[in-house]
Symmetry: C2
Subunit: 136 residues, 2 copies
């Protein structure tokens, strides 16, 4: 497991995703101020090329330079605002999801090994008087 | 721009991506220790469902529980190891890419506004003797 390489690849995916969020933000702004350009940007962005944020920006720079610069500015702002909160958010997210799957697994195992008491708790209760009768 | 929502969505994408990296890691380990299971996991993972890491794990828990727990353990390890380095990596990545696009843009603008001196630098040099002659 090459942790350094994984961190690098993860940061690249993250940069692409923040570029996508910047595109969404600019698109929402344009739909208020310049609807035809919003429609154009939507068309340009919906051919799957946004999967790679850098390739997307390089292509956009060739055809709509001002828009590309605007998206670059927004993604720079986004990364300043959200980057520091990500480690805690993602650590907590993964830990809590894992804990939940393990809890569900334990619950299923408990049900499987104690089918009667788990699915018919009333049987346990009704057996108590018998025990009392036997000891008296 | 709802920064809190964007941070939350970004952390979710990040968790999915680290789950994918955990699957890759487990697959590489299995290809050494249990090739048939590696092939099975590859088949299970290649139908696009790995796009959503939580949905992927929930489905895997139904059919190959031990593998799912192993992937959960690996992704928890991965997030501990790489999460803290991500803010700097992604900030630097975006800043440097933006700077490079702006530099290239300035370069193109300079070439466009000074076509002769930029594409034929020898013309500038050859004009210097004339200035000297004029001042002498």
């Amino acid at each position: 497991m090459d942790l350094k390489q994984i961190a690098k690849e993860t940061a690249k995916v993250l940069a692409s995703y923040l570029t996508y969020q910047a595109v969404r933000t600019v698109m929402a702004q344009l739909s208020e101020t310049n609807p035809p350009l919003a429609i154009w940007l939507n068309g340009f962005s919906s051919t799957g090329k946004i999967q790679d944020g850098e390739e997307y920006l390089r292509e956009l720079l060739q055809v709509e330079q001002d828009l590309a610069f605007r998206i670059m500015t927004v993604r720079e702002h986004l990364v300043e605002e959200v980057a520091n909160s990500l480690p805690d958010l993602v650590r907590t997210g993964i830990r809590e999801a894992n804990m939940e799957y393990r809890r569900q697994h334990l619950e299923r195992m408990t049900h499987a090994s104690l089918p009667d008491s788990a699915s018919h708790p009333e049987l346990e209760i009704s057996s108590e008087p018998n025990l009392d009768n036997r000891s008296s």
